[in-house]
Amino acid sequence: MRNYLIRRIISVLPVLFFVSLLSFAVIWIIPGDPTAAFLDASATPEQVEALRDNLGLNKPPLLQVTEWYGQVLTGNLGQSILMRTPVLTAILERLPLTLTLAAMALVLAVLLGVAAGVFAATRRGTWADQTVMTLALLGLSVPDFWLGLLLIVVFAVQLGWFPSGGYVPFMQDPAAWLSSMVLPTLTLAVVQIGFIARMTRSAMLDVINQDFIRTAHAKGLSELYVVTRHGLPNAMMPILTVTGIIAGALLGSAVVVEQVFALPGVGRLIIGAILSRDYPLIQGGLLFLTLIYLLINLGVDLLYAAVDPRVRLE
């Protein structure tokens, strides 16, 4: 197990290296520079040039690359040009919101998705199965930002139940925090509920048809008991796989949802950094998001290995 662990952790490093190269490539391709965020159309090219100098942006790019890797190895992602804080601090300040949002959506999606999937599987072929699966497919097909906009119109504007956006820190006012997270969480979860419901159903169907389930039924055990004690645990592997995939996808969708609901999370931080050409923040942010994604996948892989020894030998 330990060898496997080490091998998997080491395999993350080249990926991270490629990602950092990619983000450098991205920055080289991007036209424009951070000065544009400071200046309106009345600026002249001379003003732009002077501001570049004043913000320290006129160093040759190659130097920046080597400097940056040097810094990263010492755990320093550099300084944000616009926000004036270290990139790492900026990200760490935003991270809890994004992770909480993603985690809440994931929990909601797993709870509802697994329940819906099990329900459909145990009623295979009935109208109930078809209805649930159609809903799951609809959830999977809905554009998330559009759903978010509709939720704002219905629940924030028309009904006034939840705020239309903005964020209240938990420590400041737990009730307001919860209220501000409801619509974003729902928006983020809907697509994933569909995924998990479909996966759970098909995994359950595979298990249900196996002999030991038939035996359990034959022994006269209750449906509920059979499903929860025998069926579900054996369907966990594929569900776990999908959950791993989803955790990654959630990070991507969170970017959009944060934009719709004006939440100051990592996604919006990076979009803002891209739009204002805050290079160190773009690079640090992308590196960090990727790292989280890889860690989630690593976690899922390790869980597998723990569950199924054959994986470790692969």
């Binding site: 998330d144 704002i152 996604g267 979009i271 891209i274």
Partner: protein, 290 residues
């Protein structure tokens, strides 16, 4: 993995007819194909069907609610939303097809190279992993926002974002097929790499690829909408599904129809593609999940 697909294809009589009759027996496929075909036909015959010009401005008729003249209402240019939604299908579907071809070609080449030439495998797949780990929507935003939001750039952005996963799927089936006896046999008979790859291995990797590409198509329709929403979609005046929604976002409360109807069409199209994909998967390769 695709042994069942192999069984499915070369049965007795006409394999194509068998395949088609299986597809037509599959309810997901039939419903999905109908939905999707409907959207495609609308887009193709847009000139004939639509009562208005898609880009004709008439600000005196702006933001009109749905009515007998304008079933889906008008946007803030006074343009007929129904007409724009129907025309929007043209560009949205074209982008979808283009990305499918992009990811189909590059995903296959990269996946096949990685799966077949073991020496390349590690480096290629680590690079693909990096691209996959890169949040694809951010990648697309970066490309489209910075290189300018032209249609080719949107296609490029979404193509790059969808290729790694495709490559991974192709690689996986190549890994299975390359060890099979008939490939060994071909190799023993002195067939070259290219011939083995294209005649024997890729032909049998087609099933999972086709299923994957259907889902890619669906995800591209959604991704175009997100890019347009974030202001980096295809430029005006040509309508796209996402572009119409983005146009209405400032008037979301006063004129919800501008955002509502194109969103429903997206839902409809993506639902159709997903059902189509489910059907193809059931028939072509029953072991692939989700």
């Amino acid at each position: 993995m695709s042994t069942q697909a192999l069984d499915a294809l070369p049965k007795a009589q006409s394999p194509f007819l068998t395949f088609m009759s299986r597809l037509l027996d599959n309810r997901s496929f039939v419903i999905g194909a109908t939905l999707f075909l409907f959207v495609v036909l609308l887009a193709v015959f847009a000139d004939v069907i639509t009562p208005y010009e898609p880009n004709a401005n008439n600000f005196r008729a702006r933001l009109q609610p749905p009515s007998a003249e304008h079933w889906f209402g008008t946007d803030h240019f006074g343009r007929d939303i129904l007409t724009r939604v129907i025309y929007g299908g043209r560009l949205s579907l074209t982008i979808g097809i283009a990305v499918v071809i992009f990811t189909g070609v590059f995903g296959t080449l990269i996946g096949a190279a990685a799966g077949y030439f073991r020496r390349l495998d590690n480096i290629i797949m680590r690079f693909m992993d990096a691209l996959m780990a890169f949040p694809s929507i951010l990648l697309a935003i970066t490309v489209a926002a910075t290189l300018g939001a032209s249609v080719p750039n949107v296609i490029l952005a979404l193509g790059i974002a969808t290729t790694p996963h495709t490559a991974r799927i192709v690689r996986a089936s190549v890994l299975v097929v390359r060890e099979m006896e008939y490939v060994e046999a071909a190799r023993a008979l002195g067939a070259g790499h290219a011939r083995i790859l294209f005649r024997h291995i890729l032909a049998n990797s087609l099933a999972p690829l086709i299923v994957r590409l259907t889902y890619v198509f669906a995800s591209v329709i959604l991704a175009e909408a997100v890019l347009s929403y974030l202001g980096v979609g295809p430029p005006p005046p040509a309508p796209t599904f996402g572009g119409i929604i983005a146009n209405g976002r400032d008037f979301m409360v006063e004129a919800p129809w501008v955002t509502l109807f194109p969103g429903l069409i997206i839902l409809f199209t993506v639902l159709g593609l997903n059902l189509l994909g489910d059907g193809l998967r059931d028939v072509l390769d029953p072991r692939i999940k989700v």
